[in-house]
Every structure is written in C-alpha cells, then in structure tokens.
C-alpha cells in the first residue's frame, strides 16, 4: 500500500497543545490535497478530551491517542517505538513535528530508525510531482536550501512560527482512536534521572507582544535590570543573544536565535546586538525590529525598521523615560 496523508506528532505541555502543533496541522491541511489521505495527529501521554478537541478544532480529522505507563514525560527510546507503531498503522507519506527540544531529539531518532528521509527546521514545505520539497535555513540563516525527497515516508520538523495556525473551528469533526502500543522496555536505554526546570517569571518570551533583547555590547549582567524596567513599561519580556547567555549574564532560556527561542512579537527591540544571522534566525519574524547600536554599519540595522546609532548608556535611559511618560506607566 502506498503511503498517504500526513501525521502530526503533537506536543503537549502542561496539559495544552503547543502552538507549533497547531501550526503543523495548518501546514498539513495545505499539503493534504496533494498528498491524499487525511490529516491525523498523534498525541502521546495522558490525552485529555481538551487536548483531543484542540487538535481536531485546529485541523486533525483523526487523533491517535496513546497512553501507557512511562509515556507521560518524554522518553526518546519509548517515544520512537510509539511513533513507529502508529506510523505502521496510519501509513502516512509525511510526518510533521515541531523544531523544539523534543522534535530536535525525536525526529532524527525516529527517522533513521524507520529509514525515512528527514529535513529539519523547515520554513516551507511543498509537493512537486511525486516529491516533497522542504526549504530550510542553512549557514546560520545566511542562505536557505531546498531539499527534495521522493521516499515513501518523509519526516520534517518545522520552525516554530514559520507557519500560521488556523483559527479553532469548534464545529470540526474528528475521530479519536485509542491505540495500545507495546513498549519493549529492554530498548529503553536513555533514562531520565532528574528535571531541573527554571520557572519562567512573568510573560513567556515566545508569547510576549514586545521583546527587548540585550547583547554583548551591554558589557555585563547589570544593564539587564534596565531592560527589565523597559519591558515592564511596554508589557514585554526580555531576551538575549547567545554571547550574553554564554557569558552567564542571562539564563540560557532567554536566548533568542537559531539554537534558542523563536520569537515573533509586534515589536522587537535589540539593544547592543550586532544582528548575526544566527541571532536573526530567532527574531526576523518580528513585525517590527528596532535597534540601538553604536556602530552604524552593524548588520542589525539591515533588518530594522527603526534605528538609533548611539551608545545604549545614553540612548536607553531617555528612551525608557519617554516610554514611561507616553504610556503613563
């Protein structure tokens, strides 16, 4: 039987379907006419009615729900077995995951195990004749490559926020099928001993309508207090460049970029950030970028709508004060 249709491996965090899963479902919908079959979602762990409903209202016509002991939290060797067994049942042509910490780990393990072809961190996917075409940034975002696969089974991870989710349609119909899987425990080699979650304070970086990010040019951790102050006035969150996180001035969870978070706020204010392609990979989807940098030739200005050439020590306090006044905060 030739493979048909699309399977989206859902990500569920804190009992909720992650936005990137909704984005994958929207993409699946777009590709479905050319790939035949349907749009299905695979939900692993404790799959609540709300989760199933959220998947269906965002485009899944079928939900494969898999719950078994040991699947509540991500375990790569167990999840690979689940994905394998559900793929054997659903026979999809294309499997989509998010380019998240789980997708980054699970997609290559599952794909090479199943001898499927794989493209990761895709910003576009299409169908060209009998082949699937995937566009992904390479060379740190300086270029993009289009790859093609004619294999019976292709897997892809999509970059968060590269595709737009469809609005929830509460009238949509879908079937939920409980699938029982058998996990061969002797193949579960990688075992989690401990989770050290840092509770994010306030607004999540990925959800903030305004993001103020600081770079190495700030010179140390202290100036981030000033960025926090500005973020409070504007109702935003603070991010950072990798140089800053590497130096330990901010936690890694604040890193924006290729190997950090992807943000698409209405307003992204980059303070003392040079705008390296790997940084822009995480923020170029922002609707408006504003840069404060003392070097007028800095790359950041090439992607900015507004810019001030100047030292942040002079520009930022006055900017913050004026924002406070204008916002009456």
């Amino acid at each position: 039987m030739t493979n048909q249709g699309i399977l989206v491996v859902a990500e569920i965090a804190g009992g909720k379907v992650s936005p990137v899963t909704h984005e994958a479902l929207a993409l699946a919908h777009k590709l479905q006419p050319k790939l035949g079959g349907g749009v299905a979602a695979l939900a692993i762990g404790a799959v609540s009615d709300a989760v199933a409903k959220s998947l269906i209202s965002h485009g899944a016509t079928k939900v494969y729900a898999v719950s078994a002991p040991g699947l509540a939290a991500y375990s790569p060797d167990a999840y690979v077995q689940v994905v394998q067994q559900v793929i054997a049942k659903a026979n999809p042509r294309l499997v989509l995951l998010g380019q998240t910490d789980i997708g980054r780990d699970l997609a290559p393990k599952a794909a090479f195990h199943l001898k499927a072809t794989l493209t990761m961190d895709c910003v576009d996917l299409g169908v060209e004749g009998a082949a699937i075409r995937a566009t992904k940034p390479v060379y740190g975002g300086n270029a993009q490559a289009i790859y093609e696969s004619a294999a019976a089974l292709h897997m892809a991870t999509i970059r968060p926020k590269a595709f737009e989710a469809m609005p929830a349609n509460d009238a949509a119909h879908g079937v939920v099928e409980q699938v029982s899987v058998t996990i061969d425990q002797s193949k579960v080699k990688v075992k989690t001993l401990e989770m050290k979650k840092e509770q994010a304070q306030g607004l999540r970086l990925e959800d903030a309508p305004v993001v103020i990010s600081g770079g190495r040019g700030l010179g140390g951790p202290e100036p981030f207090v000033k960025l926090e102050e500005l973020a409070k006035i504007l109702g935003g969150a603070v991010g950072a460049s990798r140089a800053v996180c590497d130096a330990g001035w901010q936690p890694v969870a604040k890193q924006v970029g290729l190997t950090g978070k992807t943000v698409t706020p209405d307003l992204y204010i980059a303070v003392a950030i040079s705008g390296a392609s790997q940084h822009m990979a995480g923020c170029s989807g922002a609707k408006n970028i504003v840069a404060i940098n003392k070097d007028k030739d800095s790359s950041i200005f090439k992607e900015s709508r507004f810019g001030v050439v100047g030292a942040w020590e002079e520009v930022l306090p006055a900017f913050t004060e004026m924002c406070r006044e204008l916002r009456g905060a």
Partner: protein
C-alpha cells in the same frame, strides 16, 4: 576508556552576512578571501567534554573528520588541544553526502577504529544547521543516543548527561557505549597550548579511503544521498531602516519613543 569525537571543518560561521556568497558551481558557500575555515564550534565543545573526561579518567581521545580541502592547521586543532589521534576520511567517493551517507561513512570508520566507550559529537554543524549525523550514526551502530549535552560524566559502564531543554535542564543516564551530541552550554573549548601545538605538529593523521573502511560506494557521498538539494539561495531581507537622529544620544532616544508612538508601536 576510549572516546571518539567527530570534528567537521566548516566555513567560519561568524563572517558578516554582507560577505556571504554562494558558489553556483558547487552549490555551497563560496570561500571568503582571507577568512580561514574553522572546526565546527559544537564539535570543539564535544572535544572539550572529551578532554575533561580524559583528565579525570585517563582516557584516549580519537578524532574522526570527513571532508575535502582540509586545512592542516585547522583540522589538527583537536590534537593541539590534547586529543591523541586523528583519522581523516578523504575520498572523492565521500563528497557531497547528506546526513545518511555521511553517517554511513563515519559509522564504518568507528567500526574500523576498534573498541570504544563513548562517541561525542556536535549538536549540529554550523553550515548544514542539521543536527542529524549524530543520531544517524547512533542508529547505525545500535548505540543509545543523548542529544544537546551541557555536561557529560561517565561512571561504571554508564554515561550521565545534563541536557539542555526548553526551560532548564534534564539529567539522563545511558549505558556505555553510547553517543552524545554536545551543545555550546558545555562551556568554552580550551585553547591549544604551545606544547600541544608542538606535539600536534609531530603527529601524522591516519587517512582512510572508502575502500579502507569497506564502504559500499552506493551508500556514501553523493551516491548514498536520500535527500537531494534542489537549490541554495540567499533570501532577500533588506529593509529600509529609518534612522532616528538627535542632538545627542538621549535626545535620539526620546525621539525614537515619540516615533514609535506615532506609528502606534508603543
């Protein structure tokens, strides 16, 4: 203990976007005049992890690198940092592979290299930005695989890894032999010492061809690809930046806020 590291020579990823060009003949980044290639940054983090283990547990570290036009000074850097042995996979048959076909060659080389306890490699190469070769090698060799390490510690027949996850870290354990991909959160790779550079200078890398590792020519390099490249292009992003000037920095800052209010951004 024997540790194997993978190291890839890549174009310097920090070249400014303005000097980045594509060579249409090779469908790859064109070399930038005067800018030398480097070892992939995450691979240096993996080597740093290996050397920390070497210091603690007296391990030997073997580095395997597949590539063409390798620059001696660049590719020997792991030796000058303190690694013991360097194996180069050099053959036209290895050229232009994708993750599957590069992994095939690396896995065969690992088998030929003999007994080992741990493979450490980078989380992703900074040219492909792919993050696939590590897990692919693990699958071919039937090894447990842990990705995105910021800390690696070995115990009796096990490896304990602190992994970077979305909002913090996670500690996992796997039996040895295993493959671990390493991220920059591990910390800065050490600089080669003068003595290290001298020792490296005296060492000759082992060179293996496709025949040496017993590769099926249809499974490595361009012939072994499962995914083909249709096109490589530079996306156009140029926006016209409106520069806000003022009498001084503070004045410009105030004017910026006023302008942002005008366009309803704040």
């Amino acid at each position: 203990m024997r540790i194997i590291c993978f190291a890839k020579q890549v174009p310097d990823p920090e070249v400014p976007a303005a000097s980045f060009k594509i060579d249409p003949a090779t469908n790859k980044a064109a070399p930038v005049a005067g800018v030398a290639p480097v070892i992939n940054g995450f691979d240096l983090n993996a080597i740093e992890a290996a050397l920390r283990l070497k210091e603690k547990h007296s391990a030997t570290v073997t580095v395997i690198s597949l590539g063409k036009n390798l620059v001696q000074d660049v590719i020997k850097k792991p030796l000058s940092m303190g690694c013991d042995e360097l194996i180069l996979l050099q053959d036209d048959a290895f050229e232009d592979g994708d993750a599957a076909s590069i992994a095939e060659a690396l896995a065969l080389a690992v088998k030929k290299a003999g007994q080992f306890d741990l493979i450490l490699c980078g989380r992703q190469a900074s040219d492909t930005d792919r993050g696939q070769v590590g897990p692919a090698v693990a699958e071919l060799l039937g090894l447990p695989c842990v990705t995105l390490a910021k800390g690696v510690e070995t115990g009796e027949g096990t490896v304990k890894v602190e992994r970077v996850v979305a909002d913090g870290t996670e500690v996992v354990e796997a039996p040895l032999p295993a493959l671990v991909t390493v991220s920059n959160e591990l910390g800065e790779p050490r600089y080669p010492t003068l003595r290290g550079i001298m020792t490296a200078g005296r060492k000759t890398p082992t060179v293996w061809t496709a025949a040496d590792i017993g590769a099926d020519p249809g499974k490595v390099g361009a012939k072994g690809r499962t995914v083909s490249t249709v096109k490589l292009f530079i996306p156009q992003v140029e926006k016209n930046c409106e520069f806000i000037a003022g009498e001084n920095g503070a004045d410009a800052g105030r004017k910026l806020a006023l302008r942002l209010r005008e366009v309803k951004l704040i």
